[in-house]
């Protein structure tokens, strides 16, 4: 395997205080590695040592096989994307100028910078003509966060460091941005180090997770499913907290399960046709109406259809509770619970209806996960079986 970032016995000692204690880690190319742990565990310090905002006391850092422990830090940082909490956009510069920060430092010519800015705005789903000349305060928190990501991607760095990037936005926007970022990562395939203190975020975002302990060392560094089903020690177990079974739902993406197809029809199909469709669909008391672009719009029952009039656009219940294919089953379950009809609607990038996830789908996935775990336990390849997993396997 090709390792993009390698840390070798990286140590940081502040006067009278240990911050990071001999952390070694190999990060494969194209993966998201999440550093997670309680505050003061050294996760942020480790991240900032990779771009040498904090100089290590001892140890070495290799990026793409090259020892960068002593190279010029400014040159090094221009090769590494950096996204911080609170985003850190420069308020006196336009969105375009903000995004162009690193290309300008690299002395690209003007046309190339302008083209790159537009390309990046498109990439994060914002219209360049609308946003190019705006200032950060004119944008919402979520939009600013996307600009922060676009700015970090500006010079197409192979490595990105993200320090609690979604820490400063509200929970709804946060989950949306997380899913969006995962979709973006599918396109750009960067090697990413990501710091968070939120276990759920770590499980959702990470290809691998490094759990830092109070002793400033890594307690466990592995894939999330392994960490969840087989925590290395008591600290990791405590840190993951209760409800590991529920957390495991973070590991299954909506695109990995078979979607149920709910009876759907077009908004302007006409009342009689809709009523017929609902009668044909046995066992379903609601019909999902989609608009002319195929996006979910309303849930209607037979009672809604009995009322006269042909306009369906404000009848029944709004079709909220949407998830995207790269959302997790945890997201889907969350949506489902708050949904009007007990299922989450799956839509693609353009918002077009794909199918639904209902409680049966989730239960099937839970059973599969449990089977997998049982299979592993039977093989006996685990040296420390967490009690919870055993109980779960027995039931």
């Amino acid at each position: 395997m090709e390792f993009m970032i390698q840390l070798e016995k990286l140590t940081k000692r502040f006067p009278g205080q240990m911050a990071v204690d001999e952390v070694s880690m190999d990060i494969p190319e194209g993966e998201i590695v999440v550093f997670v742990g309680p505050s003061g565990c050294g996760k942020t310090t480790t991240l900032k040592m990779i771009n040498r905002l904090i100089e290590p006391t001892s140890g070495s850092i290799f990026i793409d096989g090259e020892d960068v422990t002593h190279m010029n830090p400014d040159k090094l940082r221009r090769r590494i994307g950096y996204v911080i909490q609170q985003i850190g956009l420069f308020p006196h510069q336009t969105i375009a100028t903000n995004i162009a920060t690193v290309p300008r430092a690299l002395k690209w010519d003007k046309d190339r910078i302008a083209a790159r800015v537009d390309e990046l705005l498109e990439l994060v789903g914002m219209d360049p003509d609308v946003y190019r000349d705006r200032y950060p305060k004119e944008l919402s928190g979520g939009q600013n966060q996307r600009i922060g990501v676009a700015r970090a991607l500006a010079a197409d760095p192979a490595v990105m460091l993200m320090d609690e990037p979604f820490g400063a936005v509200d929970p709804i926007t946060r989950e949306r941005l997380q899913s969006e970022f995962l979709r973006l990562q599918d396109e750009v395939h960067k090697t990413i180090c990501f710091v968070t203190h939120d276990v759920d975020e770590a499980i959702k975002m990470g290809d691998r997770i490094a759990i830092f302990g109070d002793d400033h060392k890594i307690q466990q560094f592995d894939r999330p499913e392994t960490i969840l089903s087989n925590p290395e020690n008591e600290f990791v177990e405590d840190f993951l907290g209760s409800g590991a079974a529920l957390k495991r739902l973070h590991l299954r993406r909506v695109r990995d399960v078979d979607l149920t197809s709910w009876p759907a029809a077009s908004l302007d199909e006409g009342r009689d046709s809709l009523r017929r469709k609902l009668e044909e669909a046995e066992g379903y008391s609601f019909l999902l109406l989609v608009d002319d672009r195929g996006r979910p719009s309303r849930w209607v029952s037979s009672r809604d259809l009995d009322r006269s009039g042909e306009d369906m656009s404000d009848r029944g219940l709004p079709a909220a509770a949407l998830v995207e294919p790269q959302g997790t089953l945890h997201d889907a379950l969350d949506e489902m619970i708050t949904s009007n009809v007990g299922c989450a609607i799956v839509v693609d990038k353009q918002g077009v209806y794909q199918g639904v996830v209902d409680i049966d789908t989730v239960m099937t996935a839970v059973n599969t996960l449990r089977e997998e775990l049982r299979g592993r336990l039977a093989v006996g390849s685990w040296h420390a079986v967490p009690s919870e997993a055993v109980e779960e396997a027995r039931s």
Partner: protein, 274 residues
Amino acid sequence: MSVTSTDPQLAGPRTDEAEEAPTSALGRLLRDPGRAWSYVGIPLIVLGSWFAVYRWVSGLELDSIEQRWLNAERVTRSVVEHIQLSLIATLFVVGIAVPLGIMLTRPFARRLTPIFIGIANIGQAIPSVGLLFFLALPALLGIGPRTAVVGIVAYCLLPVLRNTMVGLDQVDDKLIEAGRGMGLTTGSVLLRIELPLAVPVILAGIRTALILTVGTMVLATFINAGGLGDIINGGIVNNRTPILLTGAVLTAGLALLIDWLAGIAQEVLRPRGL
């Protein structure tokens, strides 16, 4: 809850919250009639009072002393001298205090800060007349415009120095970290991020210094350095109210006009997006 990104709330232009930022200084001005009035009102008041004094003086029967002071050539010379001295002093103040303020906010010079602030404090704490007379001692600088400029510069250094430091200090550390973390050199971070964001506070300091300078420059007359102080003092020693009043109204009007100009400069130079 991963909702699709094509949600118009997030992707489209936010008309509800994103208040259209005024695009130009003029635009900002026109949106606020009260402020617009203060921009037109000050020069009107100043020019009006100057005109009133001119009408009053021209209606008087002037004696020979008054004629010696109140003629176009004499008054113009004083006004020009006063403006020259004030501008030169302000240039020195800015030239010394801004770079010094930048230096004192850099990590390597942090420890020196109390010393320089202390010196600047002394400069402002000593009564300006005393400072001027002290500097004018033959053993030091002697009398003349040069001494006046040096004394006034020492007196006006503090506001600019302090505002430069405060302006730079209040820049969010996160922004500096973001800049450094993306590979900007310390110089670029200073030029592109810290200074532009500190401009409003620094300009406020320079505005204060300008007004202080124009006001205290009246004292230059006592060390034979010219300026509008000549006319005021001429009125006092000769016991001639028209002379005294002309000098006083000219000085006050000049200070107001310069403050007005500085206010406009502040408005125009303020970085957009804040």
